[in-house]
């Protein structure tokens, strides 16, 4: 195979605080025609920067200080703007992480699709439109003849991501850079996008750089994997070699992440009063019901994981429990006593008992307040501690979440990493000394290693403080590691619930089955096997539709 892209000794620097700081420290990378290279690493490892550099491009405030990027003998770093313009879009294409943010909402999808080919003079507008429809069909988008004439907000996230892949394909480039194309998607949708990306890359013999932090995903897509850590290369190897025998410790630690499983707990007495009991809750936004007769119990010291794809009503259930969305029917009981439906009618003690940890620590912590103020406020508000006592309690809480108090107490949230922010969110919840905590996707925005740390912390706190958790997630690996009981939701209804051991063993409700089988596994053949099992046109959306069609006959468990 002939060499397509060669990046030699690339050094990249970013400007912050009046000086240039290294982002990438001398990385070599090469790619043959038709080869797929996986770039993995934690956030901040420089994956995306490296991906952009492969196009000879860097973001504002970033510069390539040394090295060369050669695409078929043309040095992209020295090429003139006109020369690069002729390559980018036509021979090198880019698929961004968030298709929703990358499409211009004011233009129809197909108009944005045809812009590249027409500008580059590859096809006329009508040819390109016809070609777009073919690509849509190849990517298994529903109604390929018509879907392009919609606006970006009129199609779902997974469909938009596929439309973006089609757009990247519009000029039949030799190289596509995929920057985390499935990170923002549900597992069931992710499969579809993965399968279609892989198909189309194989079909046209396109080379690709696939950037992701999800090992299982990269195992499906890449021929070769390169692991990055803080701008340095850790190791590069063939996918199979890399998975079976990683050389470096860091790579091994990445691979080992999914092994954390907390020991099972003894079953609860059937007579015990649950800490929280959701009974027949029906709730609506406006006139549309989004929850329908949802019921489950959460016992003391237990973790109930609520799983389902986005739009299944997981977070709405949490809003009903906290009182932000008063249910239309049904009650929420706390220690056997019904709570007022609206949080404004609850008293301080009731509010204190149930705390919440949010998915996005960035928006959950007030950026203008120091850590001490953020954690100190509930201490002052509920416990009435002031001055030195308050400070001592905040220090205690910081110890509890394993952050050195003297270093962190006066910092602002922007001076912390993602995992540390999430820990502050936990400390704020703990400051109220609650019995029950709702964790809303607390690990889904974090890297695997960091998420692991958070899960371990939550498990330890549960053991020490006898907390009960309602753990909302769409990541079944997380469920496996931390849950005692599982509630599966779909379209605002509970489709299945029970102890974890039972849930991960067949027979399942078909929807649970679909969810479980959609979680990517490390095995590089997993996607192919799964697709063969499901039948090629029976993935994701299609499978859901098929299932809901005959799902009523076989109610699991």
């Amino acid at each position: 195979m002939s060499r397509l892209l060669t990046m030699k000794d690339v050094w990249i620097e970013g400007r912050s605080d009046e000086s240039w700081n290294p982002i990438i420290n001398g990385i070599d990378l090469h790619l043959d025609k038709g080869e797929v290279l996986g770039l993995i690493g934690e956030s901040g490892a420089g994956k995306s920067t490296m991906g952009l550099a492969a196009m000879g491009f860097c973001r504002d405030g970033v510069r390539i200080s040394k090295g060369s990027v050669e695409f078929e003998g043309i040095d992209l770093l020295k090429a003139s703007a006109a020369k690069k313009r002729a390559l980018l879009g036509k021979r090198i294409a880019y698929v961004a992480q968030s298709a929703a943010a990358s499409f211009n909402p004011a233009h129809r999808i197909i108009d944005q699709h045809t812009e590249g080919p027409v500008q580059h003079g590859v096809m006329s507008k009508s040819e390109s439109e016809r070609d777009a429809m073919e690509l849509y069909a190849k990517l298994r988008l529903p109604d390929p003849e018509q879907i392009g004439f919609r606006y970006p907000h009129q199609v779902s996230g997974g469909q938009l991501q596929r439309a973006m892949t089609a757009m990247a394909m519009s000029c039949r480039p030799d190289l596509i850079i995929f920057d985390e194309p499935t990170t923002a998607l549900d597992v069931t949708t992710q499969i579809e996008v993965l399968a279609s990306i892989r198909d189309i890359v194989e079909q046209f013999g396109t080379a690709a750089i696939y950037i992701t932090h999800d090992l299982a995903v990269v195992a499906q897509m890449a021929d070769r994997i390169k692991v990055l850590l803080k701008g340095d290369e850790v190791e590069t190897a063939d996918t199979r070699t890399m998975l079976s025998s990683p050389k470096e410790d860091y790579t091994k630690s990445l691979w080992a992440v999914r092994d954390f499983v907390r020991p099972a707990k003894p079953a609860v007495h059937t007579s015990a009063t649950p800490v929280v009991s959701v009974q027949g809750v029906t709730a609506a936004y406006g006139k549309v019901d989004v929850l329908n007769e949802v019921s489950f119990d959460i016992h003391e010291g237990r973790t109930v994981a609520v799983v389902g794809e986005s739009g299944s009503g997981k977070s709405t259930t949490a809003r009903c429990i906290t009182g932000l969305l008063p249910p239309r029917q049904g009650v929420i009981e706390f220690d056997g006593v019904a709570l007022p439906a609206d949080y404004r009618k609850r008293n301080k003690a009731q509010l204190r008992q149930a705390q919440m940890i949010y998915q996005m620590a960035d928006t959950a912590l007030n950026p203008r307040k120091t850590i001490g103020e953020i954690i100190g406020r509930p201490v002052e508000f509920y416990m009435g501690l002031k001055g030195r006592e308050k400070r001592r309690r905040v220090e205690e809480l910081l110890d509890e979440i394993e952050l050195p108090a003297d270093q962190y107490i006066d910092r602002l949230p922007s001076e912390l990493s993602g995992g540390q922010k999430q820990r502050i969110g936990i400390a704020r919840a703990l400051a109220a000394e609650p019995k029950f905590i709702i964790c809303d996707e607390v690990t889904s925005a974090l890297d695997q290693l960091v998420a692991e740390g958070i899960l371990k912390l939550l498990a330890r706190l549960q053991d020490e403080l006898h907390l009960s958790y309602m753990f909302i997630t769409h990541d079944l690996a997380t469920v496996k590691s931390i849950a005692d009981e599982v509630v599966v939701m779909k379209d605002g209804e509970v489709v299945e619930q029970g102890p974890k051991a039972q849930m991960f063993q067949p027979p399942h409700h078909p929807y649970t089955d679909l969810l479980l089988s959609s979680v990517p596994e490390m095995d590089p053949d997993w996607l192919s096997t799964l697709l063969a099992e499901r039948g090629i046109d029976n993935i994701g959306d299609a499978a859901v539709n098929k299932m809901s069609y005959n799902g009523t006959q076989s109610k699991g468990c």
Partner: protein, 401 residues
């Protein structure tokens, strides 16, 4: 006709020079990206800029060498360039001072500061000092009609041009020292504008945050009320209300000034309300606000402890702009005769009183500059505040380059 031909010739010349510039640059530097990727339009811009610069330098040279009466043509031009150079040097020195004196934080602030912002800060600082120490700095009282001095002495202090060294900026039509009145004007105009803007922000900001936090019918009532107020052209509305207010105030001038502050504050608070509501609405949906609500926090805490700190930078930037508008409104009202009442010194009033001298501009520019001094004081502060606001917006939005 030949004028247009000349213009066309210059533009075409620029185009040719631009192309030559780009071509020569690329050859000499052996294809540096700066020259290589330069489009013709930008090269044209460079050439045009160079032509304008040469024209400015040439005119300035003429202004300094020509004799009267031709030099009159260039009088204001020369003053403007002189002032520009003076201000640039002052701003540069001020920034240098800031970089070498003070704490680590302020030093860093000054290191990253553009020259425009340091000019703005310096100007605001000088205005503030003048306003605070007006009583000490001004050589005469603001209402003092100086015995023995003639009326309408030209500015400049040069007896040959009709000036008097005792009154460097001359005297007005009833013999009051213009320099003293300018200094007191800083106190009156700027002080009142500042108080008015603060009032507008307290009013508009609080209501805007309330509307954003509570929503529902309160939001509707407040927002529609604001819409109604905003639908009326503000200066005409202010004039109307001031006419009514002057009937109420009668001969009490202090009371009339108070009415003016309230009227302008209410009219301007509608703009502040809009901004506060929009910014607040974006903050209210954040998870930390939800967390605070679920904690059981009251409205006061939510607005002033959780929302306000996050809205402070856009509000501060708006404060700067709003201050300029309020300031100009007061000056306009005074110019029209319903604002700050004589004998209090006010820049708007001063422009109106001396306005007829502008007719002298063609043959006695020294005399004509008397009304322009007050106008210049207004313009300078407005520009300075805008520079500082721009800089603050740039910093708070995190936009680099």
């Amino acid at each position: 006709m030949s004028f247009w031909l000349e213009i066309m010739g210059v533009l075409l010349g620029c185009l040719a020079a631009g192309w030559l510039f780009q071509f020569a640059g690329e050859k000499i530097t052996h294809g540096k990206p700066f020259f290589r990727d330069m489009p013709l339009s930008i090269a044209f811009g460079y050439a045009l800029g160079a032509v304008v610069l040469v024209w400015i330098v040439w005119s300035y040279y003429l202004a300094r060498t020509l004799e009267a009466p031709e030099v009159n043509k260039y009088f204001f031009f020369r003053r403007a360039i002189d002032a520009f150079i003076l201000f640039a040097i002052a701003a540069w020195l001020f920034r240098l001072l800031g970089r070498s004196v003070g704490t680590q934080g302020t030093k860093k602030l000054f290191r990253q500061m553009p020259l425009t912002a340091s000019f703005g800060l310096l100007t605001i600082l000088i205005y503030a000092l003048l306003a605070i120490f007006a009583g000490v700095l001004a050589p005469y009282g603001q209402e003092q009609i100086i015995q023995g001095a003639a009326a309408n002495i030209a500015p400049g202090g040069d007896p040959a041009m009709g000036g008097n060294p005792a009154y460097p900026l001359g005297t007005d039509q009833i013999g009051r020292d213009i320099l003293s009145r300018l200094i007191y004007g800083a106190q009156n105009t700027v002080g009142i504008a500042f108080a008015t803007t603060c009032l507008a922000f307290v009013l508009g900001g609080t209501l805007g945050f309330l509307a954003a936090t509570l929503g529902g019918w309160l939001d509707q009532v407040l927002s529609r009320g604001v819409d109604v107020l905003m639908a009326i052209p503000s200066l005409i509305f202010a004039l109307l209300l001031m006419t009514i207010a002057s009937a109420w105030a009668g001969s009490e001038k202090g009371l009339l000034t108070f009415y003016m502050v309230v009227i302008i504050a209410v009219i301007d608070s509608t703009r502040v309300f809009r901004l506060a509501r929009a910014v607040g609405a974006n903050i209210v949906v954040m998870d930390y606000i939800e967390a605070a609500k679920l904690r059981g926090e009251g409205l006061f805490y939510l607005i002033f402890k959780e929302i306000l700190p996050n809205a402070i930078s856009p509000l501060l930037a708006e404060f700067g702009l709003r201050f300029c508008f309020v300031f100009l409104t007061i000056a306009s009202l005074s110019f029209l005769g319903v604002g700050i009442q004589p004998p209090l010194a006010d820049w708007g009033t001063m422009v109106r009183d001396l306005a007829q001298f502008i007719n002298f501009a063609a043959f006695a520019p020294q005399v004509a500059s008397a009304p322009l001094l007050a106008a210049g004081a207004i313009a300078l502060l407005t520009v300075a505040v805008n520079f500082v606001v721009d800089w603050m917006l740039h910093r708070s939005s995190g936009l680099k380059e």
